[in-house]
Symmetry: C3
């Protein structure tokens, strides 16, 4: 499902696209004040960076997590439409703020470049998908979106249809001693997506071990509904 970057534009607002998820990055150097007041931002900034996608919330949020570590910017909005173009999950609208347009542009460039990497543990089949994410040190985007403690290891374990995520979550918690942040499901903490999503925190080795154990079980379960689930980019976990 790689997206062709066919078009180009000389619009100053355009930063670039990522080759997956219909992901586009943009900046507004000096946002209109009436628009800013109506965007439901956590804090108002002169310059905004925007990462927007049809498919994927986790990968883009994790990519922005890296971007805000590397730049002088702040996450001011994370929204998750019910999308994936008929798939079971979310798209994403993430906005970062800064006082200088070069900072927010740099943040969006860093995030766009990292999006394919963070799709490395997204596995798709005709019946559903799995998503695994892991960071040894969560930053502001994981905190904003998922309540991850900043500076600690964080893991995301998702399965679709949602029941697969329930069993993956149970497997993860039996595999290693980690803290549960929350479990999201169609009626709780998702935008009615068909996902079961466990968010965990704790010791980095334990979080990674829990994520890997869940991935193994998820691949087997989703495989019973048809063909073997495949990732489009190399696994990073």
């Amino acid at each position: 499902p790689a997206t062709k970057n066919v078009g180009k534009t000389d619009l100053t607002e355009f930063v670039g696209t990522a080759p997956v998820g219909d992901t586009i990055g943009m900046v507004i150097a000096n946002v209109d004040s009436e628009l800013s007041k109506n965007l439901h931002l956590q804090s108002e900034f002169r310059s905004l960076g925007i990462l927007s996608a049809r498919t994927g919330a986790g990968p883009q949020i994790m990519a922005v997590d890296e971007a805000v570590k590397a730049t002088n910017t702040e996450v001011v909005s994370v929204q998750m439409p019910r999308d994936t173009k008929g798939g079971a999950g979310h798209g994403s609208l993430i906005i970062v703020g800064g006082n200088d347009v070069s900072d927010v542009r740099r943040a969006i460039e860093v995030a766009l470049a990292d999006v394919p990497n963070k799709f490395g543990d997204v596995y798709n089949s005709a019946a559903g998908h799995l998503e695994l994410q892991y960071t040894a040190r969560a930053s502001e985007a994981c905190h904003f979106a998922f309540g991850a403690p900043v500076g600690k290891a964080y893991g995301l374990i998702a399965g679709a249809p949602a029941g697969i995520g329930v069993v993956m979550g149970d497997t993860a918690l039996k595999a290693a001693n980690v803290d549960v942040l929350s479990f999201a499901s169609p009626a709780y903490g998702t935008s009615y997506s068909n996902e079961g999503v466990l968010h965990i925190s704790g010791d980095s080795g334990a979080v990674r071990q829990a994520v890997i154990a869940a991935r193994e079980v998820g691949l087997k379960l989703l495989g019973t509904l048809g063909e073997e689930p495949k990732n489009d980019f190399p696994s990073y976990i």
Copy 2:
């Protein structure tokens, strides 16, 4: 839209799949207590049975309604993602609890076996779908999901796009003397699905008559938007 059950797995959590709706059944013999606390269950149990699907909430809920009648289990969660893989309706995540894993496994087996039957009055076309359900004696799943009085006849009358469900509902109520439990629509009682859904209760003959009258009108209306709507399994009502 029958789903191939290509894969197999020896995972003890896997129970089976149904040949429609990307429906998978699973059990957890002894659920992790931290997971259980985060699943938003009506009551906590040692063993959980899980029925999860991309397409269909009504058929799976009706199938679990039969399953809990037949086993020593209880419905502890019914969640309805906005799904159907680009269609107009819901998927489902249904969890039953029990104190013995053999009970919950049996419940999921019974439900999986009954799912195709309960798709018998689901009619699809490229433009939308109709769904009719009927039981002479509603049990816990219909009560949990739709507020149906336990032990009385219950009927579900749905049309998509939603306006078709409005006219079907009006037809049903003029055809027989039944009680309205509720009318669900995109902004009320659905997960923003494009369905109009009348839930009725009452005398079993009257409920069945109302459902049949609505089906006739729904087939004519949905047919005006393209080809004749078709069911993939034999009608049971």
Copy 3:
């Protein structure tokens, strides 16, 4: 994506279809009182007119806006399912009420006839869509759905994925002096659609100018995600 109107029916409830969006129009001459109580209508009426669609909320709402100006009817419900058959936006369920079935039938006929026109500034690509709407004099449907002041010019500026709508909105507000009614996005004021939508009001020339400026930027941005976005009906703005 024009929908064939293959079928016909002699049902008195059927009014017609529009050749886009799987849009169907129906009437109920004398609505069942129990159904009426459960429909969450703003006011109850003897006769109801129903416009229901899989794809498009803006075009149908704008078409009903014209219809209620032209007939003795009132908008009593506007609901927006998350739909578009796997696309990024909404479908719609719009109900108008009247005391005479001939009035509501006429309203639905007028709306159905105007739907293609109001799709004139909907631009689609595989990656997303843009929607622009404009009226020099908003009426009850725009007021009900979007809070537009009745009798004043109103404009709708939408982009999907949602971030494109943010930049279009910023462009619009810098192009002309208009009032912001609201900005809708996945988590605010939509049904979790992947759209950014600016609603504006003000002087008719200014509103139109803002809409046109946003359209130009939106076409460039959406084009970077693949092929050039196309409208299926002639632009009316």
